[in-house]
Amino acid sequence: MNKPSLQAEEWVVKYGDLLYNYTLQRVSDKGLAEDIVQETFLSAWKSRETYKSDASEKTWLFAICKNKIIDHYRKKSSSPVQYAEVDTTDHFFDEAEHWTKEAQPNEWGINYQQPVETKEFYSILAYCKKKMQDMQRNVFVMKYMEDLSAEEICKVLNISSSNYWVIIHRAKLHLRKCLELNWINS
């Protein structure tokens, strides 16, 4: 049998970058993403006995990684500094709650049905996600990248359902605006 650590080293070589990319898309911070990847390998290594070969090694590692990311969100929201949502979107609407001129969606001149495949789009999307407030990004990622339900997200982040809808709304307002500014208008 191989020296056990060889297997772990092989994992790092084979899956390190993949897991890192996956994590970075979800936490938008390089140092943090590195730590999460390290924890993923460490947990996998410690629980390697429980690994069943009916799932591929890759699927198994990604499942562990996903849990680590959600744990990170959970820890963050239960930290003593309580989350207070500041309305950063009040300039999007006027007193009558209609769009302000600066914030209203303009025509993008693209086919919305057609998937984008340009690198440019994805790097701007990553930039815009990074610029979002942590809570908005976390909710957005859990919903649209991890496919968690609204109920699950509220539980993980310890927020109310109405909080959840407000955060989703603001996340979309910011992300849409940022993409329009940096992708469409550039």
Partner: protein
């Protein structure tokens, strides 16, 4: 009449509820009315749906640095 008349802020809020299948019938009706007359909010819906559809496919090619890879290997080695 006023009851059926909602603001753009409210309409865009309801767009997410609709998109996630969590909208009440009454809200669905007022939203449809609003989107029928407000091209800007309709655009918001189209564009945010577009973003959601494209958010899963990421083309990122960042790499872990060799130092970090070495660090992780060391941690794994020492935990054995």
């Amino acid at each position: 009449m006023n009851l059926l008349n909602i603001s753009c802020k409210k309409a865009t809020y309801l767009v997410s509820k609709k998109e996630q299948g969590k909208i009440r019938l009454f809200d669905r009706i007022t939203l449809q009315i609003h989107l029928g007359i407000c091209g800007v909010c309709k655009r918001f819906e189209q564009q945010t749906d577009f973003i959601i559809k494209n958010t899963k496919h990421t083309h990122s090619e960042e790499k872990l640095s060799e130092e970090v890879k070495e660090r992780i290997k060391e941690v794994l080695d020492s935990s054995y």
